[in-house]
């Protein structure tokens, strides 16, 4: 039983990070119908920027939470600027091009960011310092540490803030209107370019946050670290119904939990033939099953067969 609780906690923590990244995918997809393949790399840049700040300020003797907050601010700012630049450079000129063209530039961007990060930060794994007290707390027979509690809490707060932004501000209304119908939104006085830039900025901030969490939780950063979380988060977005904010959160959390439970129990279930090294398979198997049985995703609306 305590394995179950433990894996549930791990899954929720993992799922929170997936959810934050998935939101970025789903918002961009909702507005410009583009799978932003470079989004996972934004998480990676966020984590590496945070690592740079933390190690640069390591000698000052400031307390860990100050360093962490400072590095988070730096990561969020850098990622916002980066994502807006990516959109301006690689996606905006192709807004009316054939459908596959921006997808290819997005994949190119992903590869470019990874390569540049490898050149800039060198390809080795870098240990991320332990900044917060990491003694575990007992909780219903399982253990949880401060970083994990913070991840859960911060994610919940961020999601509440995001919902308030989307449903309570004029920017949020403009974003929803653009997602619904860009042309009519424009006629109503919404500036699409501004809305799209804002969307990319918000997505980048969420990804940077997830990147810092990832680094603090797993304790190492590297230039390829964004690839799998990015892929899984996109899976989560599709799983929940792409274009649907609630769906991204539900999909992300569910995917994290399924992965953690799957990895925890696969050995027992298959009589130790398959081990936890098959963890990555769960996300994709679930995805294939869900899409086959419910192609619009868990919370997505059924859309007419077009495109």
């Amino acid at each position: 039983m305590d394995i179950f609780i433990q894996q549930l906690i791990n899954g929720l923590v993992l799922g929170s990070m997936y959810a934050l990244v998935a939101l970025g995918y789903t918002m961009v997809y909702g507005i410009i119908n583009l799978i932003n393949f470079a989004h996972g790399e934004v998480l990676m840049v966020g984590a590496l920027v945070s690592w740079t700040v933390v190690t640069a300020l390591g000698d000052t003797g400031w307390p860990g939470w100050v360093l962490l907050s400072l590095s988070l601010v730096a990561a969020v700012l850098v990622c916002m600027a980066l994502n807006v630049a990516i959109e301006k450079l690689a996606y905006r000129p192709l807004r009316n091009a054939p459908r596959l063209a921006p997808l290819i530039t997005a994949m190119g961007m992903s590869l470019l960011l990874q390569t540049l990060a490898m050149i800039l930060w060198k390809p080795d794994y870098k240990p991320y310092p332990i900044l917060l007290p990491d003694e575990p707390y007992e909780f219903m027979g399982a253990t949880i540490n401060l970083v994990q509690i913070l991840i859960l809490g911060v994610t919940a707060l961020t999601l509440a803030g995001l919902m308030a932004l989307i449903h309570g501000t004029s920017l949020g209304r403009a974003m929803r209107a653009t997602a619904e119908n860009p042309k009519v939104a424009q006629l109503m006085g919404v500036r699409p370019d501004r809305v799209i830039s804002a969307t990319f900025m918000i997505g980048a901030a969420l990804a940077a946050l997830a990147g810092v969490m990832w680094a603090a939780n797993y304790g190492s950063v590297q230039h390829t670290m964004g690839f799998l979380p990015g892929l899984k988060a996109f899976t989560a977005a599709v799983f929940g119904g792409i274009g649907n904010l609630g769906g991204a959160v539900v999909g992300g959390v569910l995917l994290g939990v399924i992965e953690a439970l799957g990895a925890g129990y696969i050995g027992e279930l298959t009589g130790d033939v398959l081990g936890s090294n098959y963890q990555d398979i769960f996300a994709f198997t679930v995805l294939i099953l869900v899409l086959t049985l419910r192609p619009q995703g868990l919370l997505g609306e059924r859309v007419a067969d077009r495109a």
Partner: protein, 386 residues
């Protein structure tokens, strides 16, 4: 190829054809003295062309975005690796008893077998997923590719099948009778003076084999494109509902596209495995899938000369630049080594070419062969109107 020939007519056309054929035949002999690495680049480029031609059937003709295409390449490569190397007999004593001389599947057996196996895999993947809309299909195929890779990485226990991340080595080179492509071949003595006894190294021999297969594939895909089947695929790509209303069996046609595309992948996999003599999961990463998609799109979706050009450029150009990367590496304190430079160039090419020519370098001249630019918009408008 045919489009090339159609552009001119009569005698010049024939002359152009013979000129091209001669140039392609002499090319490796001209490059050989400069170093075998150059011919090796050509070989790799030919393999990529074959992959791109196969993917073009799926993405270019039928309009199904497949991001897991490399999985079929892996199926072909691993199939040949298992059936033509000592790996299986070393690990399974029962098999070793059955085949005392080891497993040595010849090429004429391996190619059809790999084509069928990869084609079946393609249909297996296609069957449950073909209901999906464009981007969903992309992500499912991507997931399938990753699943195959995870299995390649982990199927070394409990029974060692794939040997995990270490991969399988000492795969047989291709044999034709007593001629092995793994050893240099000497031109026969009856040739005029100066030519007899000249050695053709393995890379050059592989070049001719690959060239032959690629030319066959070009002819085949071009014939497919011009056939009833090709027109049906284009109809599905342009408007699936209309195609269905016209009485096309869209499900079977899409399955067929998936299966045929996968076959090309399987065959290139066999060639790759025997050419390298070694396979490991590293060669079949998502990045490779993305690279092949990029080749098809950069060249010109659905347009065969364009696809060949795109594949050749993306495969060969970074390799060529890699040859001259030495000084750059010294200048940047080792940060810009050859592999990084190659990645950087591929990434820049993908972004740059798309920005300058969103339809690809050599797009199809006929309007109906191009993807409609406003498909996404139309879907979007339809969504909003409901």
């Amino acid at each position: 190829m045919r489009a090339l020939m159609q552009s001119s007519s009569g005698m010049p056309r024939l002359r152009l054809f013979i000129g091209c054929a001669l140039a392609l035949a002499v090319l490796p002999l001209a490059l050989q003295p400069l170093g075998e690495a150059w011919v090796r680049i050509l070989d790799t480029a030919l393999l990529y062309i074959l992959l791109a031609l196969g993917l073009n059937i799926v993405v270019g003709f039928a309009g199904l975005l497949d991001l897991g295409y490399i999985a079929f390449y892996a199926v072909g490569a691993y199939l040949f690796a298992l059936l033509a190397s000592p790996h299986l007999t070393d690990n399974l004593p029962a098999l070793a008893a059955m085949f005392p001389h080891g497993l040595h599947l010849p090429l004429w057996g391996a190619i059809p077998l790999a084509a069928v196996a990869a084609g079946l895999f393609g249909m297996l993947l296609g069957a449950p997923t073909l209901k999906l809309r464009g981007d969903y299909l992309a992500i499912v195929t991507l997931g399938f590719g990753e699943i195959i890779r995870v299995f390649m990485n982990n199927l070394d226990a409990p029974i060692n099948i794939t040997n995990g991340p270490k991969g399988i080595n000492s795969i047989d080179p291709i044999h034709f009778g007593r001629v092995s492509l793994g050893e240099p071949w000497y031109l026969p003595a009856w040739l005029p003076a100066g030519l007899e006894g000249v050695a053709l190294p393995p890379v050059t021999l592989h070049y001719y084999l690959f060239l032959l297969i690629v030319v066959g594939a070009v002819v085949l895909t071009q014939r497919l494109h011009d056939s009833r089947l090709g027109r049906a695929w284009v109809a599905i790509r342009e408007d699936e509902i209309a195609a269905k209303a016209m009485g096309l069996n869209t499900r079977n046609l899409k399955l067929l596209a998936f299966g045929l595309g996968a076959m090309f992948g399987g065959v290139s996999g066999v060639l790759f495995a025997s050419f390298q003599g070694f396979v490991s999961p590293e060669s079949f990463s998502l990045q490779e899938s993305v690279l092949v998609v990029a080749m098809v799109v950069l060249g010109g979706l659905g347009h065969i000369p364009g696809v060949v050009l795109g594949a050749f450029l993306l495969a060969a150009l970074p390799e060529v630049l890699r040859q001259v990367a030495g000084p750059l590496q010294a200048m940047t304190d080792g940060r810009l080594d050859a592999a990084i430079l190659r990645q950087l160039l591929i990434a820049l090419a993908m972004i740059g070419i798309m920005l300058v020519r969103p339809r690809g370098l050599w797009p199809s001249p006929r309007h109906e062969d191009q993807l409609m630019p406003d498909v996404a918009d139309a879907a979007k408008a339809g969504e909003g109107a409901r």
